[in-house]
Symmetry: C2
Subunit: 234 residues, 2 copies
């Protein structure tokens, strides 16, 4: 029998969305006070500081560039990262190709190295988790083909086109299919993570973390306040 | 007439809680795509990387140490930071004195330099915002004396003792008194920030940001799902 997951990792890349990463991992920070032996690696292509601002803004995606950004420090690069039990792929504007000729396509400079890392980790991963447009990145591995997944409503006309072999669910706070958990946009990743903690470590642990963090969980993954109508308007 | 606030800053210190900072500031990141000229400084005692893990864990506060941590990069130190319109003080385990002889008291190594910085900024600040135990830190300035404020439920028996001259409100998602906005614990800071954005820039901007971030706002500051009963149990 597989033991409960202990070794977590999250991928950082230039242009990740701050809450996509920090919502789920702060749940894990608090989880470590309930479950022994939890580790969490922040993994990027290099160990240099990583900005939430993309190397180049994808101008044609219909949103003006953020004028603020923050920088986090990775703990590992793709070569030095340990084999994980759970790998988290966040979303962010960095995943879109900034070349106007390729508007709405995956940004190869960001996506290709992550795809390679997922492929390296996946055979021994217990779970793959995606947040927001992170499912678009992970979909490029082919691992999600034939599986159900969801993604960011604000890119609903873009991300599913990246991999039509995935069954994209437009109304879901998050989706579980096999060992792949995918959340909808940005803040929904925090609800996914509480759902994941409940499934792995039990409701009492999940509830105790939520009370400490004063977080009201969305507990039903199918109840999506930002579902299809809004997605199709965007 | 005062213009709407543009220059934001958030204080970082060793042992800040990740979501206390990243929830509110990611709302501000997205705000910058709606309102021109917004800036955001991450300000610490020095410009060295700042960890979410305290320099020394306050063992006697009833919680085992986190076994995971993350590191963010400040943009300014307390000397180089510009005069701000809005200053945000987050909470975190770093604010508690790790010396067992001073259990439950403010950690002077963390709190004193922040108090000095608040006092320097406050005369020209438009608003002071606190998240979680950040209200305990800010209370040490005396600026909040005679005002209503709230704080982290998990330290309800500790923080109000730091400054009994403040009227501590045990059942509130957040509290506004004059130009001081204080949120309850951890994740409530994100709701405060959405409330603040609504008040400053209007409901349409706040709603558009929430839809993009797929965040369901708690819009009533007096409706507190983690109110007094839970606080007094802790």
């Amino acid at each position: 029998m597989e033991s409960t997951p202990k070794k977590y990792g999250v991928v950082l890349y230039e242009g990740f969305q701050l809450i996509d990463v920090c919502g789920p991992i702060d749940v894990l920070n608090v989880l470590t006070t309930h479950v022994e032996g939890i580790s969490l690696s922040l993994i990027a292509e290099t160990k240099s500081p990583i900005s939430t601002f993309p190397k180049e803004w994808p101008e044609k995606m219909g949103m003006p560039p953020f004028t603020t950004s923050q920088t986090m420090m990775p703990t590992d690069d793709f070569d030095s990262a340990p084999q994980l039990d759970v790998l988290i792929i966040p979303g962010g504007m960095g995943c879109f190709d900034p070349n106007p000729a390729n508007v709405g396509k995956p940004n190869p400079a960001v996506v290709d190295p992550i795809v390679k890392f997922i492929n390296k980790q996946y055979p021994k991963l217990q779970y793959l988790i995606t947040v927001c447009t992170g499912s678009g990145i992970a979909s490029q591995t082919g691992i999600m083909d034939g599986k159900k997944a969801t993604t960011f409503k604000g890119a609903w006309k873009v991300i599913p086109v990246w991999r039509p072999q995935v069954t994209w669910i437009p109304k879901a706070r998050w989706v579980v299919d096999g060992n792949i958990w995918s959340s909808s946009g940005v803040c929904s990743g925090t609800d996914l993570m509480f759902g994941f903690v409940k499934e792995m470590y039990g409701e009492k642990v999940a509830r105790d973390i939520a009370v400490w963090m004063e977080y009201q969980r969305h507990e039903d993954p199918t109840a999506d306040p930002f579902g299809i109508e809004e997605a199709l308007e965007s």
